[in-house]
Every structure is written in C-alpha cells, then in structure tokens.
C-alpha cells in the first residue's frame, strides 16, 4: 500500500481504479500552406465551433455549479474573439504561409508569455486561460473528440492539474474522484469540484505513470489522503465510511431542495453553524439555507497576533461568495470565558463566564472591534452578510455598537472603499436581554438565541463544572419560557428570531419550537436534514393545541 497526502477540496470517499489523465499533448507541426485564404476560413470555422462548445459548456456549468462559477466560460468566449489574438493568428497564416494549428500554437505561446511576465499574481495565472482556449481551438482543428477524458467505467482521475473546462467536461457518472498533483484549494477548478460534490484532492504528489495507472485505490476526501493498493484493513474502513456516506446521501436525495415547511404551512429557516472554513463543504452538502452562526473567533484563536483587516476580509468574502447570496450570519469576536487568547493580554478573572468577554471586550477596545467591522462591511459587498453581536445585556450597548458601526461606515465612504451595509442582529443569551427583548427588538434586524449561555445564566449553573451536570437542564421550563417570550417579542416588532445554541439541534424539541413560532434554527451541518424531516411531518398548530397543561407556558395562556 502506498499513501499520499494532499489537500482536501471536497470531502467524501471514493474507491475504484485510477486512471491517469494526461493532456492530449497536441503535436503541432509546421506545414507550408499555399492557399492561405481557405486556411483562414478553416481557422474561422474552428473558432465558431469552439464558441459553440463554450456556449454548451457554459449552460452545463450554470446548471451544475451556478452562474458565478460558470462565468469563466463566457469570458473564454470573449477571449476567442479578441481582435489582437485573431489578427495575430490570421497574419501569421498569411505572411508566413503556415497552417492554422501552428499559428494558433505560436500565438498562444506569445500571449501566455505576456501574462506570465506580468507582476500581478492574478494576471500571471491568466496565462492558463490563454492556453485553455488555444488548446480548445487546436482540438477542433485536429478534428478529434473534444476531450480524451471519457472513460469506459467509473474511475479515480489522477492528473497533473485540471483546467476549469476539463473539470466541467468530466462526465460526472464516470468520475469517482479527482486528484491532482498541482492546483490550489481556491483555484477555479477546486471551487467547481466542490460545487459539483466530487471528492477531490489537490497537491497530492503522485507519480503520473504506470506505477499508479490502473491500480486500485481509495480516496479519503475528509482527511486528504489517497491510498494506492490499500491493504485489507484500510479498504474495509473506507468501505464502511462510504456505506455511511451513501445512507446519508440517500436521505439527502429525498430531502434536498425541499422547503422546510410544516404540514400546516409554517416555514422555517434551517441554517448551519460553522467554526472554520473547513466546514463550508459540509454546509453545501447538507443543503443549508444559509449560515446561522459563523464563529469568527477561530480567526483570532489560530493566530498569535491580531488578524489584520485584509486577512479577515479575505475570509469573510470567501464565505460570502461560496454561499452565493444565501445569508451568512457572522458573530463578532466572542472571546473570554473558556476561550482565551494570549495576545489579548486579558487579566485573569475569578469568574470568567461573567467577566470581560465578547462584546464587552469589543466595546472597551474599539480598535479591535473596528478592524473586524471594517472587514465585515467590505465583505458584505460580495454576498449576503449579517452581523451578530454576542452577550448583549442592555440598550446602551446597542447604542454604542451603532455609533462605532457608523464611524466605520463613514471612514469607508470617505476612503472610497466599496462596502455594503449588512443586516444587524444580536444574540439573546442573557436573562437581561430576554427581559428587555421587546425593547431590543425595536433596534435590530433579528435575534438569535444562544441557549448554552442562556441556560447557564438562567439556572445559575456553571457549564464548565462537570459536578453540576445533573443541574444543567436546557429543557427547564424557565429556559423554554424565555425562548417563547423572545420569539413573541420579536414578532411583535416585526423581526425574526432563531436559535443557534445546542438546543436548536435537539430533535425532541423541534416540534415545540415550531409551535412557539421560532423562525430559524441554526445547527451543525449534519443535523439539518434530520430536522428538515421532522419539520415536514409536523402540524405545528395541532401540536400547539394538543399541549397539556403544566408545560412551560403560563397557566392563564393555556
């Protein structure tokens, strides 16, 4: 057994035979042409055919990976029609009496070299686009099939690198996985693979020769490993993993794309909680309607210094773009209590759960807060970002947040930096916030209830203290009453309220929440479909009517 490690582009398991894919190395010969006029006609006809292919590819890509990701094929069409590129090819045919293939190859080289020589890294990479369109032309001129990537039976495709067009052209039924020696996690190809849901690795240093071609292999997309000639034990483990994935995929198939709507027509938003970028694949895979809680503190915890505005901006923008217009709720820095970070140089506290944490740090050290807000406002121009502030206890805090946010906006405006104003929400996780939620609701766009802290503060039970486990009861009527109260207050003010704490994924309470009128549940990606299943089978009105006395409600409202 040989083991190769790469970077995982998309999780999932694949077991099958490897097929090494080498680009059809187009041998271009220089041939002397007498009838240059008809050679130019041949070139123009090839351009037309290539345009036709790109149009089809664009349509296929729009359906499979969405318009934003498909745009590359539209750009390729514009590139094929570039006047300089066309003139260069036609001139070469005329003045040097050469065949169209040779003229295309030479022109491609020249243009690619121009891009490769540019200082700008992004533009340097565009040399790949020039090569991609030119290879397409050459294939048409050669009169061969569009790609040699068709395999007779499903296989694990191993290649040096794959162009976006090659990735989309893959017949999905015939590709178990793809593994490339080069490429990067954020390359266009990686993004396409992710949206197509194919287990894939990049940067896996495999030898592209007969030592692996045709070999049996297993790809572990979750951990970024490919096992060539796996031993019995590994194979067994991978088969099991695949079996579990299959079961989940079947559930997904019956539930994917369905609305989260109860039998009596109550709609609910099912969002995902994420703690790092790695979770994004699972968010898409499980058909989340958005991200309900993006714990931004990982950006701080992974660093040994304050992350810069640019670093944060890049992350938020990436998430916003990946979610393509779906709501992404980013919680501002929630550090302190059990999450500490040396470079913040926070004083040691007697009772950190009730100490200087979350929004309290942000308001006492506005320079840290402002950097994050700037990054969020800027990223907001690239998708539907919402900001959520943790640990709110008073109206005064909201007033201060608004003041700082207004400063951030003014600065961006005067610096001419592109931004967008995100929705503003707060976490309801203190009893104080619950009690004044009617007033808070007038000030913000949404509520998200953090049940973990709310339970700890309401029941006066330290959740870090294992000895108190039996007293930590998130089903306590006090907690449920609070949730119900928050939802009512939100609705009276015309805003929505959701739950992003652990309790949201407690399926024994899903019906209860629906009966209360909770608008959103944000849960770990794996919990989305099981909850959707319950939602689809619940009659919220009938459930509410059937509730027995003695539950969390006030007796007089029964």
């Amino acid at each position: 057994m040989k083991v190769f490690h790469g970077k995982s582009v998309f999780s999932g398991t694949a077991i099958g035979t490897i097929r090494v894919y080498k680009k059809g190395e187009q041998q271009v010969k220089r041939i002397r042409i007498e009838d240059t006029e008809s050679e130019i006609k041949r070139y123009r006809k090839a351009t037309q055919a290539a345009q036709g292919q790109l149009k089809k590819l664009y349509e296929k890509a729009v359906k499979e990976v969405g318009e934003a990701n498909a745009a590359i094929f539209e750009i390729h069409q514009v590139m094929l029609e570039d006047g300089d590129y066309q003139d260069s090819i036609e001139n070469m045919i005329c003045t040097q009496n050469v065949n169209a293939e040779y003229a295309v190859a030479q022109t491609a080289d020249n243009f690619a070299r121009m891009f490769s020589a540019m200082e700008d890294e992004y533009m340097r990479e565009r040399a790949a686009d020039v090569k991609d369109i030119s290879e397409r032309l050459l294939t048409v001129l050669h009169g061969v099939d569009e790609t040699n990537m068709h395999t007779a039976s499903p296989a694990i495709i191993v290649a040096d690198d794959l162009a976006p067009s090659e990735t989309v052209q893959l017949n999905k039924d015939m590709v178990l996985s793809f593994v490339t020696v080069h490429g990067s996690l954020n390359s266009h190809t990686a993004i396409l693979a992710r949206t197509m849901g194919i287990p894939a690795l990049v940067c896996a240093p495999l030898p592209l020769d007969e030592t692996i071609d045709g070999k049996y292999a297993a790809v572990d997309g979750t951990n970024g490993v490919i096992y060539v000639d796996p031993d019995k034990e590994t194979l067994e483990r991978m088969r099991k993993k695949k079996e579990e994935e299959k079961k989940r995929a079947e559930l997904l198939l019956t539930l994917k794309g369905k609305e989260n709507i109860t039998l009596d027509g109550h709609k609910i938003m099912l969002y995902a909680n994420i703690g790092s970028m790695k979770d994004l694949a699972a968010v898409l895979e499980n058909d989340a309607g958005g991200i309900g809680l993006f714990r931004s503190e990982f950006i701080y915890l992974e660093n040994d210094r304050f992350p810069t505005e640019e670093e944060q901006f890049a992350i938020y923008r990436f998430v916003a773009q990946t979610m393509a217009g779906k709501r992404v709720i980013i919680r501002t820095l929630d550090i302190g209590a059990d999450k500490s970070c040396d470079y913040f140089q926070l004083e040691k506290e007697e009772n950190p759960a009730m100490g200087l944490r979350a929004i309290r740090i942000c308001l006492t050290r506005p320079e840290i807060f402002k950097t994050q807000l700037r990054a969020l406002y800027r990223a907001s121009a690239f998708g539907k970002i919402a900001i959520m502030y943790p640990m709110i206890t008073s109206l005064e805090e909201i007033r201060k947040i608004k003041e700082i946010a207004a400063q951030v906006k003014d600065e961006l405006e005067s610096q001419g930096i592109r931004y967008n104003e995100p929705e503003q929400g707060i976490m309801i996780e203190t009893p104080a916030a619950v009690m004044i939620s009617d007033l808070l609701a007038e000030e913000v766009d949404f509520f998200s209830i953090g049940t973990n802290d709310l339970t700890q503060y309401t029941l006066a039970v330290d959740r870090q203290n294992m000895a108190l486990d039996e007293f930590y009861d998130p089903h306590h009527p006090a907690v449920l009453r609070m949730i119900s109260m928050v939802v009512d207050h939100a609705h009276k003010a015309g805003i929505w309220a959701g739950i992003c704490g652990e309790l949201g994924s407690d399926t024994s309470l899903t019906k209860e929440f629906l009966a209360m009128g909770v608008d959103e549940l944000s849960v770990s990606p794996g919990s989305i479909l099981p909850i959707r299943q319950i939602v689809l089978q619940t009659d919220a009105g009938a459930y509410r009517a059937g509730l027995e006395a003695g539950c969390y409600r006030n007796k007089d409202t029964q």
Binding site: A71, V78, M79, G83, D84, Y85, M118, E119, G416
Partner: protein, 85 residues
C-alpha cells in the same frame, strides 16, 4: 471626442470577468473606445489588452470615446464603470 476619468474602487480591480463585460458593453458601439492607465492605452473591445493593463483598486483610468455614437457609448461605459468597478 469625449473623455471620462474614473478611480477604480473594486478591491479586485478590472479582473477577467469585468474585463469581459466591459468588452461586451464596448462592442455594442461603432465608436473607438480606449482605456488608458499611466499613459498606456488599450482598446476596450479587446479583452487581452484590457487585462494586460492590470488595473487595480485606486488606479485612475481615462476612457476616451471617438466616433458617431460616442455620446451613447460614453453613457453606457461610464455607467458600467460606476456600477461595477
């Protein structure tokens, strides 16, 4: 002949996608439309030339329009810039 000066605000500058859209917009007109940055000029109807300028956020560009429909071209292209770049 008309001229339009503009400072790019988009953080990514004129990358491949907007370059493609700019070319499409420009091609709808018969007038000659040029884009220049730091005295280097490119034809707005040719994508490789536009990309070759590597226009970034904060760069000032000058667009010139010359021809029969320069008025309409000016309108369309300057609107595209303001809305997208």
């Amino acid at each position: 002949m008309k001229e339009f000066r503009y400072v790019i605000t988009d953080p990514e500058g004129i990358h491949a996608r907007p370059a493609g859209e700019l070319v499409k917009t420009a091609k709808a007109f018969s007038s000659s439309i040029k884009l220049s940055k730091d005295k280097t000029e490119a034809d707005c109807k040719k994508i490789f030339g536009i990309m070759g300028l590597a226009v970034k956020q904060g760069n000032e560009i000058i667009l010139t329009f010359d021809g029969e429909d320069e008025e309409a071209a000016y309108e369309a292209v300057s609107r595209f810039m303001k809305e997208n770049m």
